[in-house]
């Protein structure tokens, strides 16, 4: 019996995410809707190294705030479904802007792989990217790709399996927001530790989201309040 893993593909619009998805899953795809909304949800599957890999194509987003439906869908899937691996498809020729999403994924503490797509474009612009150093500094595997020529796909598959098996360590990183913000985060975290939400989400992440005045998270805190009331009256 093959082992099952779920992989979520995240990435900015125009990062070549759909091409990567097609390369990975070929014809084994089906299209549905995300629960409750009419946004298209594409799920595919493939097998590699004794694994059945189910690949979920998240909506293309620049960020993981609560400002757009796409962002909320992507975030909820990662938080609620807890995929084994998240692959962030990054446009290597536009690295700086694309990495903003990666940083936010790291904040969530997911098992992240960064797929550096469009390496050919970056090279033609004479960008030199030190992939090894990047992987070491961010603490996650970084896989170079040229998706529209189907280069790097099998390396990506292998990395997914390695990460899922724990063969490749995903250390991740704890971003330092500066003295002032860190101090406020520490205060909030301490209070959040006692909240039921802390069982499902990392308190630090919740604290960051509160500082960002994230509507969805504020709503979640309100719901917890309601839930606790009813259990208290019982």
């Amino acid at each position: 019996m093959a082992k099952e893993i779920t992989v979520a593909l995240a990435g900015n619009p125009n990062s070549g995410k759909t091409t990567v998805f097609n390369n990975l899953t070929k014809a084994r795809q089906h299209v549905g809707n995300w629960p409750g909304v009419t946004v298209e949800k594409k799920v595919g599957s493939c097998s590699h190294d004794g694994y059945n890999i189910s690949v979920v194509d998240l909506p293309g987003v620049y960020s993981l705030t609560a400002y757009s439906l796409d962002e909320v869908i992507a975030r909820d899937f990662i938080v609620d479904e807890k995929p084994d691996v998240v692959v962030d498809i990054v446009d290597a020729s536009n690295l700086e802007r694309n990495l903003y999403l990666a940083v936010q994924l790291l904040e969530m503490g997911v098992k992240l792989i960064i797929a550096l797509n469009m390496m050919d474009m970056a090279e033609s612009r004479k960008y030199q990217i030190d992939v090894k150093e990047m992987s070491r500094l961010i603490g996650v595997p970084v896989v170079p790709l040229v998706a529209n020529r189907n280069k790097g796909t099998s390396e990506l598959l292998q990395t997914m399996v390695d990460v899922a098996e724990g063969k490749v360590e995903v250390l991740g990183l704890r971003l330092d927001y500066g003295r002032e913000v860190e101090r406020e985060l520490a205060k909030l975290e301490q209070i959040i530790n006692g909240n039921p939400l802390a069982r499902r989400y990392s308190p630090r992440w919740l604290a960051i989201k509160l500082l960002e005045e994230d509507e969805e998270i504020i709503k979640k805190f309100k719901e917890v309040k309601g839930g606790q009331r009813t259990s208290a009256t019982r």
């Binding site: 940083v103 992939v131 002032e180 909240n195 500082l211």
Partner: protein
Amino acid sequence: MDNEQVLPDEPGDKSLSRAWQESLSHLKSVYRDEAETIVADARYGFISGLMHDVLKKPAIERLMLSDKIDRVVLNRWLGIPLFLAILYGVFQFTFVLSGPFMDWIDEGFGWLAGPAAGISPAWFGSLIADGIIGGVGAVLVFVPVIFLLFIALSILEDSGYLARAAFVMDRLMHRIGLHGRSFVPMMLGFGCNVPAIMATRTIENPKDRLVTILVNPMMSCGARLPVYVLFAAAFFTAYQGLVVFSMYAMGIVLAILLAWLFRKRLVRGESGHFVMELPPYRLPTITGVVIHMWERGRVFLIRAGTIIFSIVVLVWLLNYVGALEPIGRAIAPIFSSAGFGQWQAAVTLIFGILAKEVVVGTFGVLFTGVEELGGLGSVIGFELGWTPLIAFAFMAMSLIYVPCMAVIAIVKRETNSWRWTGFVIGYTLVLGWIVATLIYQIGRLFT
């Protein structure tokens, strides 16, 4: 925003809503910007730092103003000289502006000391005039320098330059096998070594962290500033800024050399890898600068009224009963090789271990009858026969030898080891003696 009071008010976390609002408004008053923006800036800062490490672009493409400034500030050759130049500028600024304030405080104390000395009984008059006004006053005179230095440091921090300085030093430190995350806590040491040592908790690699703690006392804190200013003003009139700057620079150089040595000999092993954040430049807000200045500076006012006050009274008492001189005479010969082998200097150094401002306070008590405290440095020089060279050696000693009690306590807490704590006390004492002796002996060849 209608976010007021929307958070849970349950037992256990009833303070969340309030704490949240407080955090938001605190950050807003410090940065004059939404917390959301500050958080996003931190992310971009991380990415920007990462890009400097892993991405090489053709030169034509870098266009943003912040990038343009960084090209100069982070330049391989210009970066460190520029950092030193800015530091030097900070001390010049501090001295020029603090001069008049110090004179006023000085005159104020001089005006108080006269009548106070006449109070009877005589011992009480002496306690007030020589002990409290002479000792605590000698320290309080330097409050304007400390506060102005902290204003300058806050401006550097809030504008985003301090992060650049750390980035530049990171490159240097990488070359000698360390990493630059250590430099941030080290620069916090300019304020006070205690919070700086606590800030080493952000360093994940335990060996890097240990070394950063061990060398942190070399970073010259605000409490040592009065010692420098006292002697710089008396002996190096035209070059005060330069002389005080040289103390801070000496501290940085020693810290880096020691870190390198410790990493080679004592705490071997791989160094951690980090991205140095490069937050975007921003114009410091007055509120932010004032808050940060006050956070750092209030400690000194509190200390002057509590610890310094008590120690100075103790010193006065010991002096009044004639117990100080024998203690000083027993120790003093050790320092004759550095030029300051007088019992008074030895006494100040002993009590300076309790808190470094006390070095100045003790001088204030010992050299009583000084009408104006501003003249204290000159009086010391005259009474002890000090030359500028001896004063300089003494300043170096004050910088390096045993950190104060508070720092010793925090080193013990953070390393959780008496061995390392003892090591810090031991190496600083020996190193201080060696450096002071070298300065005096080598300097003598040229004068």
